[in-house]
């Protein structure tokens, strides 16, 4: 099946109007020797029924957060997505439109972008926000590039070793050819030491990149870290967890200069890692250096309030090689979902979600510690924590847990060799006390899983998610 809607006679009429004998003739401009001259070597076409069967089979080969209890985190979380988010974002008028090049017929998207920017400012306490970037890591590196350009200190950037390792890898990739040292400050503990940061900073450093709560789920000593950075006139980029702001001080209250985040937590599905939502908000003085799209408020000639894409001279289509970034899209649909989510939960709702995460993760941690899975650090954490496998065999323990219907945690050895026997465990508001007990049992379990453990005792939800 394919999606062509012209009949044979339509096609004949069209060719006649064009003055061509055949469709093939329209391709005459492509020199013969460049033609493929055979069919593409691809599977043959499937009908909708066949494709549905095939995709059902592929899907069934995956364990999912619907078939298993998910305690995985590390930057992507199994938070609850209210039905309203899926339902509204699936409207074709949002879903199948594009960049608002014609503001008169894009006021829905433009107002939604403007509201997204406003909600992000309300959430973070920052002055301005762009209309979103690819993901948390792209937001982090774009923040770094913005700080380099604004401070004209382009040769040195300092990043805490407690920042998401994949974000640091992205920074490394981007900065490698830009004549810029990326100094990583490692630490023994699960938080970075302010003294070590101080030693790494100097007056030529463009910015200090921190994550709070950090990759291990722990809270950094933001007050002294920000003060240290300020004493060198270094910009502070904070990678934050949007949900954590239900209980934690906002980046704006902490005095950071740029706040970036992975916005997946705000009403977006897991999707094996993407597409997600890169949040970037900053002080007003950075406004004209922000990467990506920005919606702005204005009026029509009849003085009616409306919205347009603005500050476009920053962008590649005008400034070309001197643009603030090459990014020419935003994650419109995911920004929309985040806006709907934030509007729906409101200030009390997000505090409640955050409080659940906080209490449930602490409950999980205490229960695990009672079974010999000890934390390495005494640092306070928000919704995620690191524990050491008493048996020292993470991969076997993950397999056992999986057989018990539990996705237990993220093994840390792949990024931190000294944490090879450690698991990063995240607990969201979705988990009930009983489900947390199942995690504890699954990790404590020794031997073959029995039938009750293997089967899930909660209804299997038919996916209603029609979103990307």
């Amino acid at each position: 099946m394919s999606y062509f809607f012209n009949t044979e006679s339509d096609i004949a009429e069209m060719l006649k109007a064009i003055g061509a004998e055949s469709i093939e003739e329209l391709f005459d401009v492509i020199p013969e020797e460049l033609r493929l001259g055979r069919s593409l070597d691809l599977p043959s076409a499937m009908s909708e029924i066949e494709l549905t069967r095939h995709m059902g089979e592929l899907s069934a080969k995956n364990k999912s957060t619907e078939s298993h209890l998910c305690f995985l985190g590390g930057g992507a979380y199994d938070h609850f997505v209210p039905a309203v988010v899926d339902n509204l974002a699936a409207r074709g008028e949002f879903y199948t439109s594009y960049t608002p090049y014609q503001p008169e017929v894009s006021q829905g998207n433009l107002q939604a972008m403007f509201e997204y920017q406003s909600l992000i400012c309300g959430l973070t306490g920052m002055d301005v926000s762009n209309a979103s970037l690819y993901d948390g890591a792209s937001a982090a590196i774009e923040a770094v590039l913005m700080c380099r350009a604004a401070t004209r200190r382009s040769h040195r950037v300092v990043v805490a070793g407690t920042v998401h390792p994949e974000y640091r890898e992205v920074m490394e990739t981007y900065l490698r050819e830009l004549d810029c040292d990326l100094v990583v400050v490692d630490s023994e503990d699960e938080v970075v030491s302010p003294a070590a940061i101080e030693a790494a900073l100097d007056e030529q450093t463009a910015c200090l990149v921190l994550q709070h709560p950090n990759f291990f789920g722990c809270l950094e000593d933001m007050e002294s870290l920000v003060a240290t950075a300020k004493s060198f006139d270094v910009q502070v980029v904070q990678i934050f967890d949007p949900i954590s702001l239900g209980v934690l001080k906002r980046p704006g209250d902490l005095g950071v200069d740029v706040a970036v985040a992975e916005g997946q937590s705000l009403g977006n599905p897991l999707l094996y890692g993407g597409p997600y939502l890169g949040i970037l908000a900053c002080r007003e003085s950075f406004m004209r250096r922000m990467p990506g799209r920005i919606a702005g408020q204005t009026v029509t000639d009849s003085d009616r309030r409306c919205w347009v894409l603005t500050l476009q001279t920053r962008e590649q289509h005008i400034r070309r090689d001197k643009a603030t970034s090459n990014i020419c899209s935003n994650q419109g649909l995911f920004a929309l979902r985040a806006s709907i989510y934030l509007s729906l939960v409101g200030p009390e709702g997000i505090k409640e979600v955050a409080t659940h995460c906080l209490k449930k993760s602490h409950y999980a941690c205490e229960q695990l510690e009672s079974k010999g899975w000890m934390r390495r650090s005494a640092s306070p954490f928000f919704k995620e924590f690191v524990v050491r496998d008493p048996r020292g065999d993470i991969s076997a323990c993950l397999q056992t847990a999986e057989a018990c219907g539990v996705l237990a945690g993220v093994p840390l050895g792949q990024w931190y060799p000294h944490l090879e026997d450690c698991l990063l465990i995240a607990v969201t508001e979705k988990r009930s006390g009983q489900e947390i007990d199942r995690l504890v049992e699954a990790l404590a379990f020794d031997g073959e899983p029995n039938e009750t453990n293997r089967r899930l005792d909660r209804p299997h939800l038919q996916s209603a998610s029609q979103s990307l």
């Binding site: 033609r35 593409l40 074709g92 199948t96 017929v105 006021q107 408020q297 995911f334 409080t355």
Partner: protein
Amino acid sequence: MPDCEVLQDREIRDLLPETAVATKPLALPELSEPDVVRHYTNLSTLNMSVDTHFYPLGSCTMKYNPKRNERLAGLPGMAHVHPYQTESSLQGMLELLYAMQEMLGEISGLPCVSLQPAAGAHGELTALMTAVAYFQHRGEARTKVLTPDSAHGTNPASATMAGLTAVTLKSGADGCVDMDDLRSKLDEDVAVLMITNPNTLGLFDGQVKEIAELVHDVGGLVYLDGANMNAILGVTRPGDFGADMMHFNPHKTFSGPHGGGGPGAGPICVNEDLGPFLPKPVVGLRDNEYYLDDDRPLSIGRVRSFFGNVGVLVRAYCYILSHGPDGLKKVSEHAVLNANYMLSRIRHILPVPHGNRCMHEFVASAETLKKNKGITAMDLAKRLLDYGFHAPTVYFPLVVPESMMMEPTETESKETLDAFCEALFRITEESSETLHSAPTTTLISRPDEVTAARKPVVTWNPGD
């Protein structure tokens, strides 16, 4: 929210240090669920979209987004999988992504594929970084990227971000590369030539093989901006006409919904020499098990977190399987047929400076109308909105004055194309006053963009 049944006796302050805890509620609105539903439902109706309107926005390939892809991408084993699950718990997903790598390699003729980049521009940047790593490995320090003046602005912007210097290449009157200018700028310092073919005027540059040979002769690489792949699927392959690397825009070519500006995806395909330098991980197959291959010592590393924009790739996969090899070729045939039909119907009122034939899109010019009646491309675009059509791309590319870039795509019927052309005819007969004040039937008339940029208001202020 249900009550929190654990640690009920403990407060936030018992679990977190006081200095870290927020002291006031977040500045977010408090709304009822029906209010939220009404607000966003009403907002949605203020947009034109593919589902509601013909959307011939040149260079954006606004084709129909098949509904089956939405349902299938929403299956639990596709939508609700965490990026850090074990490989054994993801065999279906990895199988799909592996097949996607293979299929894009076949369609492009460039067998090594990275699905990681999140958008076309991100793919460009990633490919340029890959090229830099390749040259360094060979001990070469090349610094220049040649980009045609008709190219999308992302090309030079990506070059700068990759630490290279963009050098502009002249296009001839037909939008194709000016061979003399190319020869004069080719030297041992050229790392990459970026080319869009079919080009931004909708013409296939038949010199492409010769161009590639000239670039290869000085040791450079050819990058194909895959923005216009919808014209040549199954007809010719970038790898066969001399490109060494390219990106796809699956949200265009393979029907991913555009979501009001994103997300898209930007997978890149490169030849075997460049393959080892691609970002990691890629999906591998070993002993009938799919796995994430991270053991790639020459790789440039990561360009984003997690695997990639999988949600978009799953839809592209469904789209490719729905069509099969013959169906994909037909996509391009019908896209080219529709564009040529539109061109043939409107050229007597809107001349197309670059000839009577095109590929999947063409660029018409309102210059004559402007001279004779004072009607600009912008006026036509705005008036089309009143007639219920989304406007074509206007004022791009800059090489055509008063340009209107039209791309009907293959999923539009002759009836729709006829209705659009008739509307254009009627509009050109309307008075210039009517056109200058268009649109008049939309929610708002033309906004004041000068005020928006001069005194930017980018967040809501209480009191507004």
